[in-house]
Symmetry: C2
Subunit: 173 residues, 2 copies
DNA sequence: TATTGTTATACTCTATAACTATA
DNA sequence: TATAGTTATAGAGTATAACAATA
């Protein structure tokens, strides 16, 4: 494999390896298990938050797998449900989604008959977004499953810690 | 544009619009500003965490823009720096990165002469990862900039809240 | 001119599968 | 047979730019 590397890798990389051939060429089992230190990463909020978010999204997707709804789809339906008649721009801005991306998200939700784009009477450029009857029923189920997911979060980090977290991050809503 | 929709949209979507033509067809300026409620989303840790992470990554990227280092690249270099000789598998597992993706990350770091793949003497399949001399110097600078980014986080959510957050999420390290 | 929805492109990230060399 | 690194592909997600219809 070292041979394959020499032939297939980029010239700069190979040159770097040649330049330092006397460097320690093995780890000699120095890191057999899980004793690998994170060094500066343990002091970075971003690192912990990234790992937490990966866990949380995976659990959300798993918990709502039976209804095939992902976090972003859920957030879009929830906001439309609570604010019927919003334009696509308004939803995109509120949730921090690109309006170009919202187009595809709404396409899939409309195909499943959860959401409908209704022509706005006041501005012929825009759509008024509404949940369909089916969408309203479905959202109710999604919310129950999402609440179950939220209980998983509470089990993982602790009920009180979850509350504290929500308070700390409230400024990002 | 409503016309364009009717011709270009999928049949299901159009059918849905036709099926409910008497629904409220305008929001009549009902959500002029930023009074759009999040409903159930405010109770979901995942939503706040996602928004927080977007903010934190953007600030990290901005703060380290001068050295052109992104969060994942920084985490890889930090772990290699603290544990020289690690294999690619070990780094991937420790950081929760796909090993397939780590290949490209290391390619770019090797091209910039920050990291070198040294053939392992004990297992000819694997590489022992090390920072180059240039990489060590560079990482020192990256850490100073990352610390500056961390101060931005403290300013944003408060020094004490940042500490609490790190404690709450310590189990994800 | 500016904005809304749309289309298209590119790049990052995640998730897989398959392949080669090696264990 | 199993594992390490690599390659390739597909799908989300992010970031842009450009366009038609409309304001």
């Amino acid at each position: 494999m070292a041979i394959r590397q020499k032939t297939s890798r980029k010239a700069a990389a190979t040159a770097a390896a040649i330049r330092r051939p006397r460097a320690r060429a093995t780890n000699g089992g120095a890191h057999a298990g899980d004793d690998i230190g994170l060094d500066a990463l343990v002091g970075h909020a971003g690192y912990a938050v990234r790992r937490f978010q990966l866990w949380i999204f995976q659990d959300f997707i798993r918990t709502l797998a039976t209804v095939d709804i992902r976090p972003t789809q859920y957030s879009v339906m929830t906001v439309i449900g609570a604010n019927p008649g919003l334009s696509q721009m308004a939803v995109a801005k509120r949730l921090g989604i690109e309006r170009a991306r919202l187009v595809h998200l709404l396409d899939s939700l409309e195909e499943r008959d959860f959401v409908s784009r209704i022509p706005s009477a006041t501005d012929r450029r825009s759509h008024a977004l509404h949940l369909t009857a089916r969408g309203k029923t479905a959202l109710g189920q999604f919310k129950r499953l999402a609440a179950e997911h939220e209980r998983h979060v509470a089990e993982k980090i602790g009920k009180d810690n979850r509350e504290r977290l929500l308070q700390i991050l409230a400024c990002f809503n």
